[in-house]
Symmetry: C2
Subunit: 495 residues, 2 copies
């Protein structure tokens, strides 16, 4: 006698999960930003309890039939899209046997934990023992996901972060990139070798940097009534769409990394803050993908940050909070913001060399998952590719080489391409904006950044997961992923 | 074929509730201390969802039989006590029909919300309309609780906050208090009229007060690896035992209220921080009662705060953070810490006049719940009792009279006695300490406050809810509640 549709039932279930996940997000943020040491065990147990509960709700036995019934119900276009995302979430939660989920989680934690001391000790031999088990389990995961989805092994993993993206497409765009990037890096370096750039002279107090960061977030349109900036050891953008919790960390000898990191996270934060309010609680409201998310942070940090006019927007904030100094002169500031320098560490890389790091990871992690290479092959491949792509010698230097970050140790296989796909999408957005708004650069120079933000809001933020990525990209920019825009952007900015 | 006892099953269920409630506590603290305005709706929905889930777990149909079966199992003394507390929790969660719980919650929220604007407008007529409904529902609640427990109406409500305490006992101890308190207040005022007391001269920056508060918490033994101090509009002590979240608020023109409030909350915080770690997650670990909790905060704020030696412990902290000034001279500081002044507002009251406010509330709320008076009778009773107990005229001044706080509007009937029971217990602890440690006052004067803290830890904090209150009090102090110690304390401190 119930008049409730299966679709309505599903919506209520997702809303419930959304509300409970809210508490998990805030408590996780608190764990990084506030929590004193002795709270850690109880917090971890509480979060694990909630993780188990959310998993239980996501794998509830009733869902399969509800999803099937909802398929046959009369739904409008938005509901249909929401149902598609519900099904995606259901598949993601139900594809793996519980024993594998637990084994993965254990192996990842063990590998990450040991890595913290193995990395400073340059202990590849120790690390590889744990990594081997992580890789074994993630190959198993890839097999399960591939079997249930019909995708290739690597595609099945990548699909978790970038739904719809396939290795064949990554090969196409990264193949193009690979053909011109090393040459471009050399050309830019040759050009910049002629320039003199003054380094800012510190120290820069935390309090001043905190105030500077707030003003920079204000410049980038962050809504402080729906979010905060705090400190944590590893900067991230967390919280919930209604209350975004960004973090940064300050070094008194240098402010640029924290400042540009804050601007980067503000891009992530505004995407979340502007997801459609009336959809929140449903999967359709969620940000489309990791690559799309990164396209927002990179629109802020790179597309705007390396814009020739951006230095003049930033300069008054620096002078206000840090006092004036010769390095803050606009031309010098722009040179600082666009400095290209091949280095070992991905997270410290500039806009031009960053994709080389990502190509390298992709070219290793894909055959690794596909079983074509083994973990013991990683260092030699790493050394060869670092030399080829960036001209750097990493032999024997594991800690600044294949042990520099813990993505693989933590099981994040298939994630790396998102960084560079994000950079490509960001370039594509700005190309589209310039077609629609021929005076865009003049507006940016006048500080009218809302031209950019309004476009991103209309085309990306407010669209959530309504469309599959290719359709979203097509609707936003008039074409699907086109790496030519990224190339044109780098050439025009850096040559 | 299960070898699990019903008792083990119950323990696991309570542990699960404890872990989920952890997230609720931290998210509630965050709502008061951190959350920006636009996060409120989503946070409230998330907390309500969790509240519903915890209620569902606490009223699970299987519990009744599990509790009955556990009764018959072989349990040691600690397990037996834990089972007693599980039963208490079960009765509390299951005594009321869900419809009444929801109606109460709605009426309380409505009354509290309206009170925020009605109080400044002195709008008794408006307030009384909402309060009437709140009282009606809480009389209904009292009836349900009394029917299921066999207690009197008021006792049934009070038992939620102070298990085992009965109105007959409150009558006995408050009756004694009432006979000598007004005379004592007059005598102290006459004595203090001879004294000259300098007021501290501000302003006192927030940053300096924050640092002062931290040092005061350190002096009082707060473990900063298991808790924090932050700011909120209404100071409280929240969080979880493993990670206590205290809050305060700062006024730049005055530091004393925030400082002594912080010392008060530190007493609550240390009780929580020192609940037995190996019991945490089970009801037996919990603080015994609201009165016992208040006996800790008042041991810190009043028993130590009004101690003649305390000014000399506080003075160096004031000088360090606020600079020196004549008001910080030790004798003057002690006079400031022990200033007695009858006033309208309970929360601003000193140690001597505070019980008068509580007696007044008790003498009104009890007959109100018992149906002997109606809400319309409150103002006249209030006026008469304020005149009788404190010599103050409150006629027509509702906002500083019966509308000054929102305990009744929020449905907290039966709670007020805990404040003064706490003050009495605190005096009783110090009397017992002095019997056991004849040099206690000398040790306090030397700043060896650990003598006090170790005693409280051994006798109260680490005992959790192992014993019913009378037994806990007897074991701690060698006798059950004896108001003579409170009288002796006030006389020796203030006359
Ligand atoms: Zn990012
Ligand atoms: Zn208190």
């Amino acid at each position: 006698m119930s008049t409730t549709t299966a679709y309505d039932d599903l919506c209520r279930r997702h809303e419930r999960q959304h509300r409970l996940a809210h508490l998990q997000s805030i408590a996780s943020w608190d764990q990084s930003a506030n929590m004193p040491a002795k709270g850690n065990e109880a917090r971890s147990l509480a979060l694990a309890e909630m993780g188990g509960l959310l998993h239980q709700l996501a794998t509830d036995g009733a869902l399969k039939e509800l999803l099937a019934r909802a398929e046959g119900e009369a739904l409008d276009e938005v509901q249909r899209a929401n149902l598609r995302e519900m099904q995606r979430a259901w598949r993601a939660s139900n594809a793996l046997p519980q024993a594998l989920v637990e084994a993965k989680s254990l192996a990842n934690s063990r590998c990450e934990h040991a890595w913290r001391s193995q990395r400073p000790a340059n202990d590849w031999a120790g690390y590889v023992e744990n990594l081997r088990e992580v890789v074994r389990l993630h190959r198993e995961e890839a097999k399960f996901l591939a079997d249930s989805s019909g995708l290739g092994l690597y595609d099945a993993l990548m699909d978790q972060y970038e739904p719809g993206m396939r290795a064949a497409e990554v090969d196409r765009v990264f193949g193009d990139l690979r053909s011109w990037l090393p040459g471009l890096i050399r050309d830019v370096q040759a050009k910049q070798a002629q320039e003199t750039t003054l380094q800012p002279v510190g120290p820069f107090s935390k309090a001043a940097q905190r105030a500077l960061g707030h003003d920079a977030m204000q410049l980038m349109g962050f809504d402080f009534e729906a979010g905060r900036l705090d400190e944590s050891a590893h900067p991230f953008c967390g919280g919930v769409p209604e209350d975004v919790r960004m973090t940064t960390r300050y070094r008194e000898d240098s402010f640029m990394q924290s400042l540009m990191g804050t601007i980067h996270e503000t891009g992530h934060g505004r995407y979340e803050q502007n997801l459609r309010r009336d959809w929140l609680g449903q999967p359709i409201a969620n940000a489309r993908s990791m690559g799309l998310h990164e396209s927002q942070s990179l629109s802020f940090e790179m597309q705007l940050g390396s814009h020739p006019a951006f230095a003049s927007l930033l300069r008054p904030l620096l002078v206000k909070h840090l006092g004036d100094q010769p390095a803050f002169e606009e031309g010098n500031l722009h040179r600082l913001l666009t400095r290209v320098h091949p280095g070992y560490i991905r997270v410290d890389a500039d806009e031009v060399t960053y994709p080389a790091h990502v190509i390298l990871r992709y070219e290793i992690e894909r055959p690794l998952i596909e079983g074509l290479i083994e973990v013991d092959d990683i260092p030699a491949l790493w050394d060869a590719k670092m030399m080829e792509l960036l001209g750097l010698d990493t032999r024997g230097n594991y800690k600044d080489g294949c042990m520099q970050d813990v993505h693989w140790g933590g099981g994040l296989f298939g994630y790396f391409p998102c960084y560079t796909l994000g950079a490509m999408y960001a370039a594509q957005w700005f190309a589209a904006m310039r077609r629609e708004m021929p005076d865009l650069d003049a507006r940016i120079a006048r500080g009218e950044l809302s031209a950019v933000f309004d476009w991103l809001n209309a085309k990306i933020w407010s669209q959530g997961s309504r469309y599959e990525t290719p359709e979203l990209v097509q609707r936003a920019s008039g074409e699907t992923l086109n790496p030519a825009h990224f190339k044109a952007h780098l050439q025009s900015r850096y040559l």
